[in-house]
């Protein structure tokens, strides 16, 4: 291994980047903007959802409204029946609790939902059920009737193994996005850049020089790895100081995982560039290579919740393991002394090494 030859390749990649501000923007700025945007969207407050309790409901309407309001996610008001139904049709409120004839013909307590937005319907349904359950619980345990005060009754203590009540969706997504960006952009850039090396004749020229294939791949990893780390630094800074995500543990480990990911992205990019003849064909790797990993690697849906066949597939994708490691570092505060960081990390590195070997078979002087 000749370090000078490897550094020559890495330096050239940096020089080419410097001449190409648009690509720098794509690698560094776009992920930062996307991280900020996604974080902001995940943070945005729930839409307002209102349930009206028809005044003719023969129970403590004010008490139920108070219990629902205490839940925090849904607003409850008491309205005359006709007015409530009018507002429901007009879209001003999303549900009405009223008395309607049930299957038996007698009047029964009925929740009428607006229903076009399934998420809204589910939230409203739950809020109302919870308020009733709570009132019932008070009635049993405290011995009062269903008209007891909201906020009374037994208190449930909650404790967290990791994180805490302050953890939000954004905190859960941030580690996964850091991993995905590093993989996505570095893979795509390497694939296109090595494709140019193949089609432009410079690869053949390199094969006429005494550089080893391993030295060339290592140079690529160094050059692009540098940009992967810069990108990760930008995204991490925005997440921590801009979005003020909650995280536990050492951010330093994040960069170690990102470096393993860029190792993987570069070697996969070099390997797959052998299967494209044009840059347009390289772009076709996005739906083939990147989208499945984006969907299956646990960024949005936890891998363990996937159907069996998909779960097995997800475990075969390197990005899944990288995201596992990143989440263990950032959410659990674990480090390389812990199995849930070390093993996924080693898995990513093993994938990367395998792809480095595969990548090196795709170009050769017909000699050693």
């Amino acid at each position: 291994m000749n370090l000078r030859r490897t550094l020559a390749v890495a330096r050239r990649i940096v020089q080419q980047f410097r001449r190409d501000p648009r690509t720098i923007a794509m690698v560094i700025v776009v992920p930062i903007v996307m991280m900020a945007l996604i974080g902001y969207l995940l943070r945005s407050v729930d839409p307002e959802r209102t349930v009206a309790i028809s005044a003719d409901v023969p129970t403590d309407t004010a008490g139920i409204a108070e219990a629902i309001n205490a839940g925090g996610r849904v607003e409850a008001v008491v309205l005359p029946r006709e007015e409530a139904l009018k507002q429901l049709r007009g879209g001003e409120i999303q549900a009405v609790l009223l008395m309607d004839p049930g299957p038996g013909g007698e009047d029964a307590l009925t929740l009428v939902l607006e229903g076009t937005d399934p998420t809204s319907a589910r939230v409203l349904d739950q809020a109302v059920r919870q308020a009733f359950a709570q009132k019932l619980l008070w009635a049993v345990t405290v011995g009062t009737n269903i008209g007891g005060e909201a906020g009374e009754g037994p208190q449930l203590q909650v404790s967290y193994l990791f994180g805490g009540p302050e953890y939000e969706n954004a905190d859960f997504f941030a580690p996964a996005l850091i991993g995905f960006f590093a993989f996505f952009f570095i893979f795509l850039l390497t694939a296109v850049s090595f494709l140019r090396e193949r089609t432009g004749g410079t690869l053949e020229r390199l094969m006429a020089a005494p550089i080893r294939r391993g030295e060339l791949v290592a140079g690529y990893i160094l050059g692009f790895g540098l940009f992967a780390l810069l990108q990760a630094a930008g995204v991490v800074l925005v997440a921590i100081y801009g979005l003020r995500i909650h995280y536990a543990g050492s951010i330093g480990w994040v960069f170690l995982v990102v470096f393993a990911l860029s190792l993987l992205a570069v070697s996969l990019g070099i390997f797959l560039s052998a299967f494209a003849r044009t840059e347009l064909q390289a772009i076709q790797f996005i739906p083939i290579v990147l989208v499945p990993q984006a969907l299956l690697s646990g960024i949005i849906w936890p891998v363990s919740s996937l159907p069996r066949a998909l779960e097995v597939t997800a475990r075969l994708l390197p990005l899944t393991h990288a995201i596992d490691a990143l989440r263990a570092v950032m959410l659990k505060g674990h480090g390389f002394g812990d199995g849930d960081v070390l093993w996924p990390w080693l898995t990513v590195v093993a994938f990367a090494v395998a792809f480095v070997a595969l990548a090196a078979t795709t170009f050769r002087r017909e000699s050693a």
Binding site: R5, Q16, R19, A368
Partner: protein, 237 residues
């Protein structure tokens, strides 16, 4: 003494296409050997075989006494491919420095020296996409020369050059020969081929004739090299 390059019984096919059909050649140290022939005759294919970039279906190549392919010998070899094969977004100097770097060399004096040879010192810091075709070709030659190789393979080095620059290139090749550097180059221009010490006239993957320019002209009975080629090609059919 070993020949700088020797090849025996070289055959190469691409699928059904028989591109080289038994080539033999010996290039003495410190001389210039010209492969002369029309486009598609197999010149570039032969150069790539001599360099070990592709493998012959039959026959052997040795370079400076070592059977090819051999990675170690490549540090003594310079290659200028037919297509420019450079990084168009980088400057001339950055390209030359890169190809020096992949030889394990960081020597700015050597870089300046080859930029002088190809007369690009004044434009060395402009990116190649602002260059004319001839300037790109000169940069390509500089990249092949920068590590001071003892053996040069130049595939159509003078294409796109004006007559003055072509003459100065040949002067430089001659100077390299005097320093003991061996040059194998290709051309499809009969007049410049006169300058080579030995020539292989190649057509359809075989040598029509092989020897010094004077020997070839004499053997064909023609007045000059161009006519010699035509006479020999007609005889080949």
């Amino acid at each position: 003494m070993n020949a700088a390059v020797s090849a025996h019984g070289i055959h190469k096919r691409f699928g059904a296409l028989d591109v080289l059909k038994g080539i033999d050649l010996e290039v003495a140290e410190g001389t210039t050997y010209g492969l002369l022939g029309p486009s598609g005759s197999g010149k570039s294919t032969l150069i790539r075989l001599l360099l070990g970039l592709s493998r012959a279906d039959a026959g052997e190549v040795t370079v400076r006494g070592r059977p090819m392919p051999d990675r170690a010998i490549l540090s003594e070899v310079g290659y200028m491919p037919q297509a420019p094969s450079l990084y168009m977004d980088l400057t001339a100097r950055e390209n030359v420095a890169f190809f020096a770097g992949v030889q394990g060399i960081r020597d700015s004096a050597a870089i300046d020296r080859v930029l002088d040879i190809v007369q690009l010192r004044g434009r060395a810091d402009s990116p190649l996409h602002t260059f004319s075709g001839g300037m790109v070709n000169r940069t390509s030659l500089a990249c092949a020369l920068v590590h001071g190789p003892r053996l040069l393979f130049l595939d159509e080095p003078t294409v796109g050059l004006d007559p003055l620059l072509r003459a100065s290139f040949w002067q430089h090749f001659r100077r390299l020969n005097r320093e003991g550097v061996t040059i194998v180059l290709t051309s499809h221009l009969m007049d410049e081929a006169q300058n080579a010490d030995r020539l292989g006239l190649i057509r359809f993957g075989t040598f029509l004739a092989e020897g010094t320019p004077a020997e070839i002209v004499a053997a064909s009975g023609a007045a000059n090299l161009g006519d010699a080629f035509l006479t020999l090609a007609e005889a080949q059919g």
